[in-house]
Symmetry: C2
Subunit: 318 residues, 2 copies
């Protein structure tokens, strides 16, 4: 199935307790696409400056990413500089230079305008809406957002959420968006805004998915060395959406949607959540997308099995 993502492609400078990296490949669109590319071809819409290294373009192409929607503009590529403390849960942003991203207006190539699945990475909700106005009846739309937009562009964000099926945000964002500290109540408030499914990312504690009346809890993979958490959330979304795209649509759902309200069975969606968690767990093992460069499909399958072993327990006998 065709999968479209709109997001940022950036050059990041990151410092963690374990080292630092300067001007390395980053951006929400990048992390998403590379993770999704392990499962399905990805149509990426983004912008870079003319300083963007050709080797990064080659890396993206090598991961089944169609770059027809990646515009190169005169000027510098979006740059982000951040630092993590020992807790590794939240980055402290040191510098943000939007550069060519400042005037970014997504323009979809014709070939990208009939996607089955769409992921709107964390960008201005008005741009997220512009993307949706350029595509024709996607089967599933997912989005991310952040506190900056929740606080500064709440109205536009609410309009976006009305057209979105799956929201993928972190726990702090969910609480702020809902204006409610309790996550179960916050989830209900957010689903009342329109989406059918809410996936709450909780960093090292895994994710909670609220969908219809059900809750699915997936742990994060306990790692001995979390090297750089940058891009974990986008890698999760990439694994999740890429896996769904690979599955193909639930045939019956075209006629009669399953209880999920999404064109996929609950079982498929749950597997996609675990695949997302698997991709995030690999991503944080190295700086930038370094781990993705060597990652194999067999390693992905093996870690999926480890997730199963880590979470399964038997029926209560008596």
């Amino acid at each position: 199935m065709s999968l479209l993502v709109v997001g940022s492609v950036a050059l990041d400078s990151v410092k963690t307790p374990f080292g630092e990296a300067t001007d390395v490949l980053g951006g929400s669109g990048t992390y998403f696409s590379v993770a999704a590319g392990f499962f399905n071809r990805v149509n990426l819409v983004a912008v870079v400056g003319n300083d963007f290294p050709g080797e990064h373009l080659e890396l993206l192409k090598g991961h089944d990413i169609d770059l027809a929607g990646l515009k190169t503009q005169p000027g510098k590529t979006f740059r982000w500089k951040g630092e993590y403390g020992f807790q590794l849960n939240e980055a402290k942003t040191l510098e943000t230079h939007l550069n060519v991203f400042e005037s970014f207006r997504p323009e979809l190539p014709d070939a990208f305008r009939t996607p089955n699945l769409v992921f709107l990475a964390n960008i201005d909700p008005e741009l997220q809406l512009e993307v949706l106005h350029q595509v024709k009846r996607p089967r599933l739309v997912a989005c991310d957002t952040m506190n900056f937009w929740i606080e500064g562009k709440r109205e536009a964000l609410i309009r976006t959420l009305r057209e979105v099926d799956v929201v993928i945000i972190n726990d702090g964002e969910a609480r702020e968006l809902a204006g409610e500290a309790n996550l179960v109540k916050a989830a209900r408030n957010i689903l009342d805004l329109g989406p059918k499914t809410l996936i709450i990312k909780r960093g090292e504690y895994g994710v909670l998915m609220f969908s219809g009346g059900t809750v699915f809890s997936a742990p994060a993979f306990p790692l001995e060395s979390v090297f750089d958490p940058t891009g974990a959330g986008d890698s999760f979304a990439g694994g999740f959406m890429g896996y769904l795209a690979r599955q193909g649509l639930h045939e019956e759902s075209l006629r009669c949607p399953p209880v999920t309200g999404l064109p996929f069975d609950e079982a498929v969606i749950r597997r996609a959540v675990i695949i997302g968690s698997v991709m995030a767990s690999f991503n944080v093992e190295s700086f930038s997308l370094d781990r993705m460069k060597t990652l194999t499909f067999e390693e992905i399958q093996a870690r999926y099995k480890e997730f199963q072993q880590m979470t399964s327990f038997e029926d209560l006998l008596h």
Copy 2:
């Protein structure tokens, strides 16, 4: 099987964002015993003052708890006063009056000296050792502890850990005990001290169990109203140990222990972890042990099923 617990029986005054309660029944030994009593008879060793209300004694007796080891001493019962903020993850202790607990020296009645299972709740590790010296070859010993002992009585605690099979502590305590921020590495360090299994409680994020080479992750039950988290950890331990006691020993294990190193199969231990999580989730729904007063075995089984529905996912097909 016989189950022994040594811990505190207290009168708590608790304030949460949702209300407050004064001089209500509390204490690690109490929460443990009441939760465990749903599954197996519990032999409780503790001390109270002569101000301890008779109705509480009746409550304990009504939950299959043998009070032959509960000493009543002249003076006041141990009192704790604490407050929780909106995060509800950590109590702020406002007052601690040890009262009769200050001179507490556990003395086991003869009938209590051959337990199959022992739980050493969070008390001075020297007293934990004294208990172990009074019992004859238990099949499984579990213990809790806290930062106060990790910092103040580290040496005695290390000696206790050498004689313990299962350690049940929270994440902050695990990190401090191991002197290591990464939980996976911290777990390895703690298992190197002697125990075969480490269960790390993470409040609203559930528990992680490290045992031999395996990790088991169990979520917490997502609740709409967490009323009072006091006693959640001890209710977890009570459900865990009570369920194991109810199962009976793994027959074969008497001759040849399973890979867990404990006299129970991994599958039984995992079910016990979920039962512990179930009991903790009920306990936080009300102040003190109020929820336990009305809780039924059918409700426990139903929530166990909900845990299964919340965590299960299928094999990866392709």
